[in-house]
């Protein structure tokens, strides 16, 4: 069973529906027993980092997530879930986060330009991801696949840890839109809303046996 961690951060049913559509057994839950017994864990989220960390701690889910990571269970972060696996986020006055990936989450600079065009914030819509290396979760994708993003903050891996960046996206700046470390992968975009390319990533994750 795949557990989608429920910490009241936005609507998690779309992730659940996409994974179920792919034929996997999945449950949205905050039950520690179910999470401990799950084969793999999806950690989504929409909202702000400060509130998300508060809610995670209130349900002791921060401990469970760190435990799952340490026990080599496959973990997938999505959007805000991805941001709060970093050391900290600039959102909500430098929120201390889970620290599973070294780095920080920063606000897009404003104004943000690409050439002469002023870009809108949030970064909302379809954009490309340049995947690096050959991580199994990002297999069978084409550079022309696009993914659906909605965010005002972006993850930045700490200097010296560039090998953790699994994919980058260009939006005025170039940022890490996919990261991977041992049994953990995390994406800034929404695979559950990204058509066939997104479903491919979810399917790859559900089949993935990390070799670590």
């Amino acid at each position: 069973m795949i557990a989608i961690i429920d910490y009241k951060a936005g609507n998690l049913t779309s992730v659940e529906r996409a994974v179920r559509h792919l034929g996997y057994s999945v449950q949205v839950t905050d039950d520690p027993e179910l999470i401990r017994n799950a084969d793999r864990i999806i950690f989504p989220g929409v909202g702000a980092a400060g509130q998300a960390m508060k809610d995670l701690k209130a349900y002791s889910l921060d401990v469970l997530l760190k435990e799952a990571f340490a026990k080599k269970k496959p973990v997938l972060g999505i959007c805000l879930g991805t941001q709060i696996i970093f050391d900290s986020s600039e959102e909500d006055n430098n929120t201390e986060c889970l620290g599973l990936i070294p780095g920080t989450v920063k606000k897009f600079p404003s104004p943000l330009f690409e050439g002469a065009e002023r870009l809108k914030i949030p970064h909302m819509g379809w954009n490309r991801v340049q995947f690096k290396g050959n991580h199994p979760v990002f297999a069978n994708l084409n550079p022309e696949h696009e993914f659906y993003f909605v965010h005002s903050y972006y993850p930045q891996v700490k200097d010296g840890h560039e090998e953790l960046v699994a994919g980058t996206t260009q939006y005025g700046i170039t940022f890490a839109s996919a990261v991977a470390r041992y049994n953990l992968v995390a994406v800034q975009f929404h695979p559950e809303k990204s058509g066939s390319g997104g479903l491919t990533i979810l399917d790859n994750f559900c089949k993935w046996s990390p070799s670590c």
Partner: protein, 259 residues
Amino acid sequence: MLSKRIIPCLDVREGKTTKGIKFKNNVDIGDPVEMARFYYEQGADELVFYDITASSDKRDIMIDVVRRTAENIFIPFSVGGGIRTVEDMRRVLLAGAEKVSVNSAAVKNKQIIADGAIAFGSQCIVLGMDVKKVDVSEKIPSGYEIVINGGRTYMGIDALWWAREAERLGAGEICLNSIDADGTKEGYEMTLTRMITDAVNIPVIASGGAGTPEHIRAVLAEARADAGLIASMTHFGTYTVKEIKEYIHKHGTRMRMLW
């Protein structure tokens, strides 16, 4: 850089898709869930459902449409029509929609934009604006006025002011519909669209008047809309979403070409 978006709009009445010409003479053209799936497979970047069910006791039919759509398509979609309260928004979002749009309810009570943005985040809240060209006056300095009831009721609100006000209140996107152009198939209202895209820093979806792929290319590339709403030009098979995207992409505006 983001791709520009093509967004088919499905008008739904009591669970059936319709397309009204200037909001009159609606005819049924199919099951909305099937049409959503069809457009998803053709490469639509997003979908809009507009619920035109008259009686509020039949609104649960729409929630069921939203739920079944969410089980079948994996791109964002929004729902508008009949959304009057934060509770209405919650039901639609929980059923699986990515965004909700408010139109006349926000004109009557603009606080709903702020309340929705606080409850669900700005990215969930789309302001729908129905606009008509009028004489420039002290009250309507831009020459474009907000209307409701399908264009029958003039609200004495300047469209340019309203777009900026909605952004200030927390709307995450504007769906800008020209009542003058709607149903004409003669192209979007370019002047109005450019005026609004220049004035706000949130995405603008152009709506009303699309008849050819060139109309859509023009509103995206020249009036700087972020997305083009389409309806009759694809509902009746005149064009496919794929043909439209290929044309626009070939003429230099980036589209999502793989889906």
